[in-house]
């Protein structure tokens, strides 16, 4: 079953899987966890930005779980930078489970030093 699901996903690759991002938001008191699945790019990053903006007025902690984020461009980096700037003085932000390609981008751009990375 799992294998079939995986195979199906792969055959649907390229155009249909391009520029797709699923965002799952879990709220636990003032702690918000964003589970990102897909690609954080020019087209998808406004969706994440909107969801972060909904959360930040009362958030004390933002957690970004990137274990299923396969791609991030500068548009995605800008949204994460905006989130950490919004949390400045009012809470904390944690980014966890970087995939190899996202890790590479974070290291190149100095983003690995901007947040707590788990």
């Amino acid at each position: 079953m799992a294998l079939f699901g995986k195979k199906e996903k792969k055959s649907a690759s390229n155009m249909s899987s391009k520029s797709n991002l699923d965002i799952e938001v879990n709220k636990n008191g003032a702690e918000y966890t964003f589970l990102l699945n897909g690609r954080l790019d020019t087209i998808t990053s406004p969706d994440l930005e909107a969801k972060i903006n909904e959360a930040t007025p009362d958030a004390e902690k933002l957690i970004f779980d990137l274990s299923n984020l396969e791609y991030i461009s500068s548009a995605g980096l800008r949204v994460l930078l905006g989130a950490t700037q919004a949390m400045e003085d009012k809470g904390e932000m944690v980014v966890r489970n970087l995939t190899p390609s996202v890790k590479e981008v974070f290291e190149l751009t100095g983003f690995s030093r901007l947040f707590a990375i788990e």
């Binding site: 391009k18 396969e70 500068s74 548009a75 400045e88 190899p100 751009t109």
Partner: protein, 136 residues
Amino acid sequence: MRELIIEADRMNLPEVQTFIDEQLEEAGCPMLTQTTIDIAVEELFVNIASYAYGEENGNAVVQVTVHQEPLAVEITFIDNGKQYDPLAKSDPDITLSAKERKKGGLGIFMVKNTMDNVSYEYKDGKNILTIKKNLN
């Protein structure tokens, strides 16, 4: 050489990346390198979509050439919008704290630092930007 002529609209990004990925997959490009190239393609195409034509519509031409021995891919972006050299922009200071960091310039910075060669010329009313990445 393969060529795609497409309206310079950011919503066409998936089509541009799919076009590039097809050539990269054919060339046996490693997955992580493909992602790196995809990012560079996004930054350059979205730059054209955002700035080249102002409020007007216009096209972007994307040309891909795969070189053998050593295996490398060369991608050229051409637009006939206003003259603009994105490489002339100064790099962001990546040592600043989150509070001090500015949001701009990261895209071109990534292109410059992940590609093996990046060049720009303005010729016959066209912005021509070429990136090259070794695939081995």
